[in-house]
Symmetry: C2
Subunit: 340 residues, 2 copies
């Protein structure tokens, strides 16, 4: 009988009595605090803040830091958006200097959105950049452009990853087709992305199994990018890891759009690989995030619970929380139920 990638992984795990005591050296953590968090403030972070996150990633043993988007300057004008919406090479170097992945143990990543990036021109050859990985974010209907973007980045010398967003709204037959196309590209990692924070454990299982089986024997890895609308980002991340995902996204204090992401400090507390150090993250939280919470509001607040429960984009919840009547939960619930 044909044994799938998922099944082989499960057999390894089940041979252990208490698998949570040990660790998988091949499991790699990506911090996307600045990239995803910038969706809360148009990437208007100070250099000091970005530098503090960068240094913490190095000190904490994080494997990748996604420092920002490389988005189109026409769609996202420089006068409105901060530096890490575009992550120009000189802006990155202002933070990292001539970043050395070997010496620091950290690789840098940028994210390019299908439909929102001038990727052919804006992404330099890897040999001229401190960036090691290009992550392509897309909706399922953008798979053809995504394939071109992944090939372009690969040919330019980058590691690549593909994040099909809002996967909780995509038909299973379309996911299957997208995976079939993607595994034929040079993409290194394919991420399960729960943009709406709508997925429960059993649904995460179904998707991770599907992705694991798709990449079986290709050498590609499966990743997880969870959102925290229902306080499930960390738990769904654990679930994906248990099922064999080896690439995992997290952000400091869970900073990210709306309800935010899987908190890095919870993830590192769970992981058993001694290369990860949690103490620098607590220092960063104390020095920089207590203050940030006075400026920005994110996390699994009631309006995000409601949009997550109904598999909706969080934009209506973000609008409510930007206004003066942020605690009008009942009217908001009624509005969501009327509109779905």
């Amino acid at each position: 009988m044909f044994e799938t990638g998922h099944e082989k992984h499960q057999e390894r795990i089940h041979s252990m009595k208490a698998p949570w005591i040990t660790y998988r050296p091949e499991l790699k953590v990506l911090d996307c605090t600045i990239r995803d968090g910038g969706l809360m403030n148009d990437h208007q972070f100070s250099n000091d803040f970005v530098k503090a996150v960068y240094e913490t990633c190095v000190d904490a043993g994080v494997d990748y830091m996604e420092i920002g988007y490389r988005n189109s300057k026409e769609m996202f004008p420089k006068k409105q958006f901060g530096a890490f919406r575009h992550s120009d090479e000189e802006d990155i170097r202002r933070i990292t200097g001539d970043h050395d992945p070997e010496a620091t143990g950290l690789k840098l990543a940028i994210m390019a959105d299908a439909g929102k990036s001038d990727w052919a021109e804006d992404i330099l050859p890897a040999s001229e950049s401190v960036v090691s990985m290009v992550r392509v974010a897309c909706y399922v209907e953008q798979i053809p452009e995504t394939v071109e973007m992944l090939c372009d980045a690969h040919e330019k010398g980058y590691e690549t990853s593909c994040n099909i967003m809002a996967i909780s709204t995509v038909q299973e037959v379309e996911i299957d087709q997208a995976l079939e196309v993607l595994v034929q590209t040079p993409v290194g990692t394919i991420c399960v992305v729960d943009s709406f924070g709508a997925l429960y454990r059993e649904q995460v299982d179904m998707l991770i199994r599907k992705y694991m089986d798709a990449v079986n024997e290709t050498g590609k890895e499966v990743g997880i990018h969870a959102h925290n609308n229902q306080q499930l980002a960390f738990a769904n991340t654990i679930e994906a890891l248990i099922l064999g995902a080896n690439r995992v996204d997290a952000t400091v204090d869970g900073l990210g759009r709306g309800a935010g992401n899987c908190p890095l400090e919870l993830l590192l507390g769970f992981l058993r690989n001694p290369k990860f150090k949690i103490r620098p993250v607590y220092k960063l939280l104390e020095d920089h995030f207590v203050g940030l919470r006075e400026e920005l509001t994110w996390g699994p607040l009631v309006p995000y619970n409601i949009t997550g429960q109904h598999n909706q984009h969080p934009r209506s919840a973000m609008a409510l929380l930007d206004g003066d009547d942020r605690s009008r939960y009942l009217a908001f619930y009624d509005q969501v139920m009327r509109d779905i």
Copy 2:
């Protein structure tokens, strides 16, 4: 081959393609907002607040409301603690009137702690009370008194439940022994209680399987009471339900000691039984919990993350958060690491 309770349940579940679409009618929800939340304010709730929670439980289709402790008035003096640390019959009736479980669909519960309750005298015969269930909370070393308490409550006519607390600190051989003793009593439900919010998914699995197998073919049920120190209360509750636990604890807004509990509004959003109504809970959140959050601080804050990660009682985190230096995460982390 002998088929255990856990295995039979798993077979039923695995025969379904998308089990999360349907529901188990036998799954019952217990709200312990006032009982567990009172640990944050010595049960100094207004009558209006308790009444609002009671009415919401009725409107939301919740099965049980644990309205408070029945603790010793010597150990917990009336002048220091609010009414629901003792839950005298007249105090309960002040909220519920002559509560009718049939008409309202809601049963009332109280919790009695081993070692902290004058249970023989203070618990009336069920025929003279509006309370339907007595839940006995104990540490594993208090199993002998717990057995007496369960038998006493059963003989007085109550449904019974047993919560062995801080289970993440108990040796497996002791858990096995405790379960072997408990299944021989008239106890109706045995709850897995993660007092420190320390358990990860695989550990919840191990415990729920153990409890399910212990109660197999006894007619007894397994419950779950999770704490949210690592943002896992809801997820671990889902996990227990998937594995067959039919009794589940939650609180409005997750109110409870320290990091709090599994939020009722998330749980009801997950459950598919149409008897549960979530709208009244959003109304209660808006009317009463926005204000309460200005008085009390609870939830999965960083200091609770730290105690949870190290399987520690949250009292040191509560002390930190009661003081003026509540954001001294690094010093707190160092202290916890020095002390363990």
